[in-house]
Amino acid sequence: MIRLENISRTFFVGGRPVHALRKVSFSIAEGEYVTIMGASGSGKSTLLNILGCLDRPNAGRYFLDGREVGGMKDEELAAVRGHKIGFVFQAFHLVPRLTALENVELPMVFAGAERGARRRAAQKALETVGLADRAEHRPNQLSGGERQRVAIARSIVMKPAILLADEPTGNLDSRTGLEVIALLEKLNTSGMTLVIVTHDPKLGSRAPHLIRLSDGRVIEDVFPKGAVTAKRSINRAGERADENVAD
């Protein structure tokens, strides 16, 4: 489903190059649950942005469902983001002036869905995350955990194949964080590919597939609980990890 080949991303800060990612390669199979771990500044958020087509690499190739993303135009990337990928951000990123229901509806507005269908789908997504009774509340009337669950509802309302979560528990207390993670894992068991970026080792150890970054390189790409899906992916990922460590 996802294949990265020697992806590099360099930013220029004050005229000096900062290598956020250096020749990163790995694969993620359909339906996998992956955590990307690393210390602050290791490049994990940059990697997630590239996976989510929010950013483009300076070098290397990114294949999504066999299609190279690098060659896509802005409009195509927008369509990929709208239909294939769901995002959950650490800071929730809900639109403050809209209610929970309207926030969840937003991706469907983009898709041009008819009002009734939008309402029904958004309501169902809110039910999935256990917030049906908070549909008419605005973000500032919701707790942190509730906001994140609204963000999750928004990310799944279009039934994307991949769900990308950037430190989804970063702004939550541990109990609420666990509830949110449980919810994401439940979505993964229903077939959605789940990629979580985190620096929390406890959270990282929950996933069957772990990719560890350091200084923009993949230093570990393993299946600590044993390979449960996509054997080919496991082997290739192992090889890539070795290459990256040796690099």
Partner: protein
């Protein structure tokens, strides 16, 4: 039409601020369009009235005063010219038309013009012209006179002198009301030439205040004018030339008025810019979120353009309506008060006004959306301070 929905959502999200901005645009467009409409209308009328005659003949005095007096009915002169000048000019092959006029007296401030049926004010209406072919004490009143004095056909009116002397036995009867043309004659009271001649304020039996002359061909004009001055010792003026000079003087005022109009309009658009840029960070984050969930750059630019165009469009349409009403009601007041002929805004001016206001909104939306979109989505969404 996702972008339109987005624009509507954003505009209605802060309803009070939106209403204040729309109100600003309404005021801006109404004031600027009224000012521009009035100055344009006055300028246009000035030029068109100047075309009513090729030559104005009167007593020897400043040519500009002759034109102001003879065509625009502004100012007065006690001097007259001999009536035989008109008789002799009628026989001149270089002359196509001679219109004699007598100015003297007024009805509640509106000038009385004694003239004949071929006066340019009555061109195209035989019914009105016929009334000036009689010796009866009848009057054809301009629309502003009729409206201001609430006159209708059959009403009796007295000139100021006769009213002052309590001479109620010599009233004029309103025979017709001339429809609004937006020219200086809207505020005139036309009477047959013999009636004006018997008027108290007019001193001579065989004299006239002046003549409006049309030449057979334009190239005869200079020769005719030169001959007239030599033969009759009269003053002459070329309206086209004098109007150009007046227009230059008027142009200075017009520039000031248009400057004021532009300033008011600019301030109203500034309120829109302030509204859109207030909460720039929130707006930028919102656009980044929308892009992250699938909206394209194009849709977001369109939504921003639509939002500002919507506000200026609504404000522009209402403002234009108010400007029309303003020119409709202010026009007659200006005409009656200062002799500035003003017509209500034309459909073309109103459409143009709406288009300019809406386009200004679209440009603002575009200028504000582009820098927002140049920011990296990933950077905005990754940084909690963004």
């Amino acid at each position: 039409m996702i972008w339109l929905r987005l624009a509507w959502d954003r505009a209605t999200a802060r309803l009070f601020v939106t209403l204040v901005v729309v109100l600003g645009v309404i005021i801006g467009s109404a004031v600027s369009e009224t000012i521009i409409g009035i100055t344009e209308s006055a300028g246009k009328t000035l030029v068109e009235t100047g075309r009513a005659a090729d030559l104005v003949i009167g007593p020897v005095e400043d040519p500009r005063l002759l034109v102001l007096q003879g065509l625009f009915l502004i100012g007065g002169s006690s001097a007259q010219i001999p009536a035989y000048v008109a008789e002799e000019l009628r026989d001149d092959p270089r002359v196509a038309q001679v219109v004699p006029y007598i100015l003297g007296g007024n009805v509640r401030g509106f000038p009385i013009v004694g003239t004949t049926r071929n006066h340019p004010a009555l061109a195209g209406s035989d019914v009105l012209a016929d009334f000036l072919e009689t010796n009866d004490r009848v009057a054809v009143v301009g629309s502003v006179v009729a409206r201001s004095l609430r006159l209708k056909i059959g009403d009796k009116i007295l000139s100021a002198h006769e009213a002052l002397e309590g001479n109620a036995g010599k009233p004029l009867t309103v025979a017709a009301v001339r429809r609004t043309h937006g020219d200086p004659w809207d505020r005139a009271v036309f009477v047959p030439l013999p009636v004006a001649r018997t008027h108290h304020a007019f001193q001579g039996e065989k004299t006239l205040s002046g003549l409006l002359v049309r030449c057979a061909t334009p190239r005869e004009l200079l020769g005719l004018e030169s001959d007239l001055r030599k033969r009759f010792s009269v003053g002459t003026a070329f309206p086209a030339l004098e109007v150009r000079v007046i227009r230059k003087l008027w142009g200075d005022f017009e520039s000031v008025f248009e400057g004021v109009a532009f300033l008011v309009f600019f301030l109203s658009l500034l309120s829109l810019v302030v509204m859109v840029t207030t909460g720039f960070r929130n707006r930028r984050r919102e656009l980044a979120i929308l892009r992250a969930i699938g909206f394209s750059r194009f849709e977001i630019i369109l939504s921003s353009v639509a939002e500002t165009t919507l506000l200026t469009g609504v404000g522009g349409v209402i403002g234009t309506g108010i400007a029309f009403a303003g020119s409709f009601f202010l026009g007659p007041l200006l005409t009656a008060g200062w002799g500035i002929p003003v017509m209500p805004l034309s459909a073309g001016t109103m459409i143009m006004g709406c288009l300019i206001v809406s386009s200004a909104g679209a440009v603002i939306g575009l200028l504000l959306a582009v820098p927002l979109l140049r920011c990296e989505i990933s950077v905005i969404l990754s940084d909690p301070l963004q």
